[in-house]
Point group: C2
Chain length 294, copies 2
Amino acid sequence: MDQTTGFLGLGSMGLPIARNLARAGHRLRVYNRTAAKAEPLREFENVTIAHTPLEVAEPGGVVLSMLADDNAVTQASEGLAEVLGPDGLHISLSTIAPTTATALAAQGCGFLSAPVFGRPDRAESAELIVLSAGEQRHRERARPLLEAIGAAVHELGEDPASANGVKLAGNFLIMSALEAMSEAFAFAEKHGVPRELAAQVLTTTPVLGNAYRGYGAAISSGAYEPAGFALRLGHKDARLVAQAADRLGVPMPIIDLVANRFTAAENKGRGDLDWSALAIEVFESAGLDQADPR
Amino acid sequence: MDQTTGFLGLGSMGLPIARNLARAGHRLRVYNRTAAKAEPLREFENVTIAHTPLEVAEPGGVVLSMLADDNAVTQASEGLAEVLGPDGLHISLSTIAPTTATALAAQGCGFLSAPVFGRPDRAESAELIVLSAGEQRHRERARPLLEAIGAAVHELGEDPASANGVKLAGNFLIMSALEAMSEAFAFAEKHGVPRELAAQVLTTTPVLGNAYRGYGAAISSGAYEPAGFALRLGHKDARLVAQAADRLGVPMPIIDLVANRFTAAENKGRGDLDWSALAIEVFESAGLDQADPR
């Protein structure tokens, strides 16, 4: 902690993250384009406010960035790599394209991808879920910083782009859940159950948490037998949903998609496997083996 | 508990459910088409095995059924209603169409829809999530039985079909999660992260549980401001997923669907709302108001 750490980007996520780093005793030099957003950090003796982005960096030092998108990160890091040099480390917390991470890693300073899961309230309480991918020495150097802002740090290997791939996969799961919940609540409401009640029953019980943990493990390991719930029964339920949705006038694009997966899986003789075996169809369509090919 | 309760259907769900009722001290008369499946219940002194389905019923009594599909329930209940009579109660635990529940409720005996969430292991440990809908007196009469088999009993009102609507909505959410996880794991694996690791990071952390609880409440109450994560940023991430999926050859039908939702929402001026505001589009498409219309 004898070194000063740079921090770029004090938006709704960056500010609470920087605050937690300061609370943990890290000496920080922070910068934000809109200077007023740095004001709340003045209360910390160990934080100094910079007037230009490059000012937060020093040769061989560490800079974290939490910026809005790929362009912002790419622009900010142009001069950064030059100042940091080969012994420096840029830790990118932003959600950016895996290809952007690969490009940033080639800029001449050390680079670590460390995108995070969690909204501002989790950032505030230092309970983010942090992904970390890059060279092992970079991951080790970054760990005390990342542990100060998160409830867990998951290390995903040597290739920085991997962390961005998993972060996007996670955001995709959340988007899918938003769409699916919206469809499900509309469906329930057309059956006379107010959406608030449907939300309470369906999302505060362990039903879905159990489904992700249990089925996530089954799908990833290919454990589709013995069936806890046979795929042909899942198909039957998909038909019931589709029929009721049609009868009550609820457009539910996901049910059509899933029903077709079940049809394909049954045609391929998978009706007696667990309904999670619809995953085989998805992996095959991606050119992936059922068993992990690597 | 001085009355004998009938039980029809001793499959992978019915058997452990009947066993928990017997353990709780309820006197049971059980029937299964394949008689051998009743054998494990012989150890209970308070269980008798019937030779015909109608034998489990008595005038004014209670019969629970846990059968494979709508046809099986409809067939079984034909004679049942006649034997049970107007003071009797048929409690249907099966996942059937809401319209089938409505038809069964008109057969002349009391009828309660009580479909359950949980696989055989949860049935075994009496940790099912039980839905209950029908006349209040039926729900009250059924409660001791339902509490003996579940961790929670959610009462959903007077119309039996409501419980089946919510049960199908829940199964739909699980199917959607199966499809979304399969797509997400394929995506992560194409980024060099084995699906087992992706599953572990994405499904055993609180990320998704928090998303369902937090966003479920936001969507059902229409609380899209202030944005924890702006819809236009969600749209940006949807584009990043779609681009990476295309580049790496991962068909991801859900991302196309969700990206189009975000596009429509932005076109309607909702870019600064929380990304969960994609729900407005879904509710509108179902002819439902943003505020609960009832």
